[in-house]
């Protein structure tokens, strides 16, 4: 990055330069430009985050004052709590199901949309709808589909005689409950995965497919030998965004399944621990844990999947 300002300052002969201009001084303009951003980000993002990172190691509880240093005590206590352990397992399932499903669906949908056709932009417009809607309302919308008394899913399955009668989907089986809740989130995050993968597919040169065809590759061979390897950067980023969303899942299980342990996520536990148990230190510890896990797992995905591709 060259300094545009300094390189052009000498080349303005048409304007009478002020005496101040000629003296060497620190160029203040960029500081003024970033000042509002700096005030907001430092005051409302970095300072609060630092609070969290520090107080995660303290006992901050309304029921047990005063605030005192605990070291890793909060983390230990959390690991001893059955609800948190269950939520940890649930969240692992959310992440695995969510990342896998949104990535597979993302690849499939991107392949469908890869070649131009009439009306493609309209299909893409419809595709991004779920991404654009508020998560809380999506939970509400899907509860009408899963409803045990008169939901769409029950209605269809019963009419087609797949199930004998109306059944309860959310609750009885942990895996099914988690899968169905996660499906709502997958519905929300898949559009972005599709866009990211599609963007990479668009820049794969056609010659490569030609070459693969000449080598005797069929449709599947082309996908396996050309498309998937070259789309890796897009797939990696899609997986990272899915990971961040699924690790932080809150709205969907909260709206669809309440506080039940069957589907409770780590984020929900953070909320309960802070606002119900009034144990803010433990709440901070849990959010810090989620933050660190997000960063480490993102790095892991990038290292495994991301490959810079040069054409």
């Amino acid at each position: 990055m060259t300094n545009l300002a300094s390189s052009t300052r000498t080349s303005t002969p048409t304007r009478p330069t002020s005496s101040r201009r000629r003296r060497r001084h620190v160029d203040l303009l960029p500081y003024w430009l970033v000042l509002p951003l700096a005030v907001v980000i430092v005051g409302l993002a970095i300072v609060p985050a630092a609070f969290t990172a520090v107080e995660a190691f303290f006992r901050v509880s309304a029921l047990d004052p005063p605030t005192r240093f605990l070291g890793f005590g909060n983390f230990r206590a959390l690991l001893d709590t059955p609800e948190v352990r269950t939520a940890l397992g649930n969240t692992a399932l959310y992440v695995v199901i969510g990342v896998a499903l949104s990535t597979i669906l993302g690849i499939i949908m991107a392949l469908i949309l890869q070649a131009p056709f009439r009306g493609r932009s309209l299909v893409i417009a419809v595709l991004i709808l779920p991404w654009a809607l508020p998560g809380v309302v999506e939970g509400l919308v899907w509860s009408g589909i899963y409803d045990a008394n008169n939901g769409l899913l029950n209605s269809v399955l019963t009419s087609l005689h797949i199930t004998g009668g109306y059944s309860v989907f959310l609750g009885p089986h942990r895996l099914l409950t988690i899968a169905l809740i996660e499906l709502v989130q997958v519905w929300q995050i898949t559009p972005l995965s599709v866009l990211l993968i599609l963007a990479v597919l668009q820049i794969i040169p056609g010659e490569l497919y030609e070459a693969a065809r000449l080598d005797g590759c069929g449709w599947w061979g082309q996908i396996r030998r050309v498309t998937l390897p070259l789309a890796r950067p897009g797939i990696a980023i899609a997986m990272v965004q899915a990971l961040v969303a699924t690790l932080n899942v809150f709205d969907q299980p909260y709206v669809l399944n309440g506080a039940a342990t069957t589907g409770s996520s780590l984020m929900m536990q953070t909320y309960f621990v802070s606002f119900q148990n009034l144990d803010f230190g433990a709440g901070y510890a849990l959010s810090l844990f989620i933050t660190v896990a997000t960063m480490l797992l993102s790095l892991g995905i990038v290292r495994l999947v991301y490959r810079r591709v040069e054409f």
Binding site: L35, L63, A148, N149, G171
Partner: protein, 437 residues
């Protein structure tokens, strides 16, 4: 500096100054002023009629700004405001279940500093739920208890003519109702929420016991204990098809009462008092008007009492005008006003959906004027053994205890664990919480 830069500089400086000024704003110190101040009252229900509030302002010079929130977010706000030591309301909800917690945290002014509670304790049956030692954390502003509601019409259709008085009779009657065509006659809100815990206390009470003793020791671990039997009865009712399978996602209040109001179920064992008048008999909201009635809650050998579930009001420590708030609370709990809120003088002064007055005198007055649906039964239920869910004051860790209760009963209902495992897990939690406290 060029002109745009100067402009940005001005804006930036202004921004910094604003932040500085705002940070400099000290926290409000409470004031004892009453005349001419506006207090904020935050409760989980609608305000009294405009005419009633105007009366109060005329009498005291205190204006009221009413904030209505749903119960759950209100509880969150109370905690958040108290822990960040900031003003949120001058008078707000003190739920009976959180009294122990508030006693430990000291988030509320003791009400006995402001009001002579001894003078009207005899007229306020549910005050005891708010007393810890010598402190009164809040004052009940309505009377609310759990009560069994029955759809008479559906019971009659099944050929049941006598009111069940024991749990065994009640269960047999439900089976008859099921056989007569109501697919799932019993209403239990199995969603993992506070209402499921409360329901269990009510059933435990009917089985003749309580879930914790005075020292907060679990009383529900052995198969012959009332708490264990109550849980088993609830879970079995679901497994045997007496409860709609979809109820494992149904919450108390809205969810379960809708089923009752639509006539899809025939009875709610632990319903909320007041629902007959405010909901089931309201033709605009219910398809079963004049069909639902309160009955004495069936017990082991004879009808049992009920568990209190009152709403209280108190003054948080972060209040701006505690004295004015106390004036309001005095007015709010006065017998004549309580009768007004329940509709003694028509809707202009009433509170819509108001359960029952907190004062016996007000209840009797309503009944005399024919304004209390099934008034005799209600007063009867209230005076014959309606009592707090816990023998001592509520434990300070009640919220965590209740969370363990409702998540484990829910798990037992969906078949993820047995009743044995559920009571074991709850007992384990109690042990941990008692160890901490």
């Amino acid at each position: 500096m060029t002109r745009p830069v100067r402009r940005i500089a001005a804006v930036g400086t202004a921004l910094l100054l604003t932040v500085a000024v705002l940070v400099g704003c000290a926290r409000v110190t409470p004031s004892n002023q009453t005349k001419g101040v506006t207090i904020t009252v935050a409760l989980a229900g609608p305000p009294p009629g405009k005419a009633a509030l105007a009366n109060f302002t005329r009498q005291t010079g205190v204006k009221v700004r009413w904030v209505q929130l749903d119960w759950d977010s209100l509880q969150t706000k109370i905690s958040a405001a108290a822990t960040s030591k900031t003003f949120f309301a001058d008078a707000t909800d003190v739920d009976w279940s959180r009294v122990g917690e508030f006693n430990v945290t000291g988030w509320f002014y003791p009400m006995n500093n402001y009001v002579d509670t001894k003078s009207f304790a005899h007229d306020m049956p549910q005050l005891s739920s708010f007393v810890v030692g010598k402190k009164v954390i809040g004052i009940p502003y309505d009377t609310s208890f759990l009560v069994t509601t029955v759809n008479k019409k559906l019971f009659k259709k099944a050929g049941i003519s006598t009111t069940p008085t024991t749990i065994a009779e009640y269960t047999a009657d439900l089976r008859k109702v099921k056989a007569s065509g109501v697919a799932h006659p019993l209403n239990i809100p199995f969603s993992a929420a506070e209402g499921l815990s409360t329901y269990w206390y009510e059933v435990t009470n009917a089985f003749g016991g309580q879930v914790l003793n005075k020292d907060y020791q679990p009383q529900f671990t052995t198969p012959d204990s009332p708490g264990y039997q109550a849980m088993k009865w609830m879970v079995d009712a679901l497994k045997q098809g007496l409860v709609p399978p979809g109820n494992i996602d149904v919450t108390d209040g809205e969810g379960e009462q809708t089923l009752m109001a639509k006539g899809l179920v025939a009875s709610t064992f632990g319903d909320y008092s007041g629902t007959v008048g405010t909901l089931y008999d309201d033709p605009s909201a219910s398809s079963v008007p004049k069909q639902v009635t309160y009955i004495r809650t069936p017990g082991v050998k004879a009808p049992a009492g009920n568990v209190n579930n009152p709403d209280g009001i108190g003054i948080p420590r972060t209040a701006k005008y505690p004295k004015a708030a106390a004036e309001f609370i005095k007015w709010f709990i006065a017998p004549e006003n309580q009768a007004n809120f329940a509709g003694l003088h028509g809707p202009s002064q009433a509170i819509s959906g108001f359960a029952f007055p907190a004062r016996l005198t007000a209840l009797k007055k309503l009944d005399e004027n024919g304004k209390l649906p099934q008034g005799k039964q209600v007063i009867d239920l209230l005076t014959k053994g309606s009592h707090p869910a816990f023998p001592g004051a509520q434990p300070p860790w009640y919220s965590q205890f209740s969370n363990s209760v409702y998540t484990n009963i829910h798990s037992a209902a969906v078949g993820q664990e047995s009743v044995d495992q559920a009571v074991g897990a709850i007992a384990e939690t109690v042990k941990r919480l008692r160890g901490e406290a």
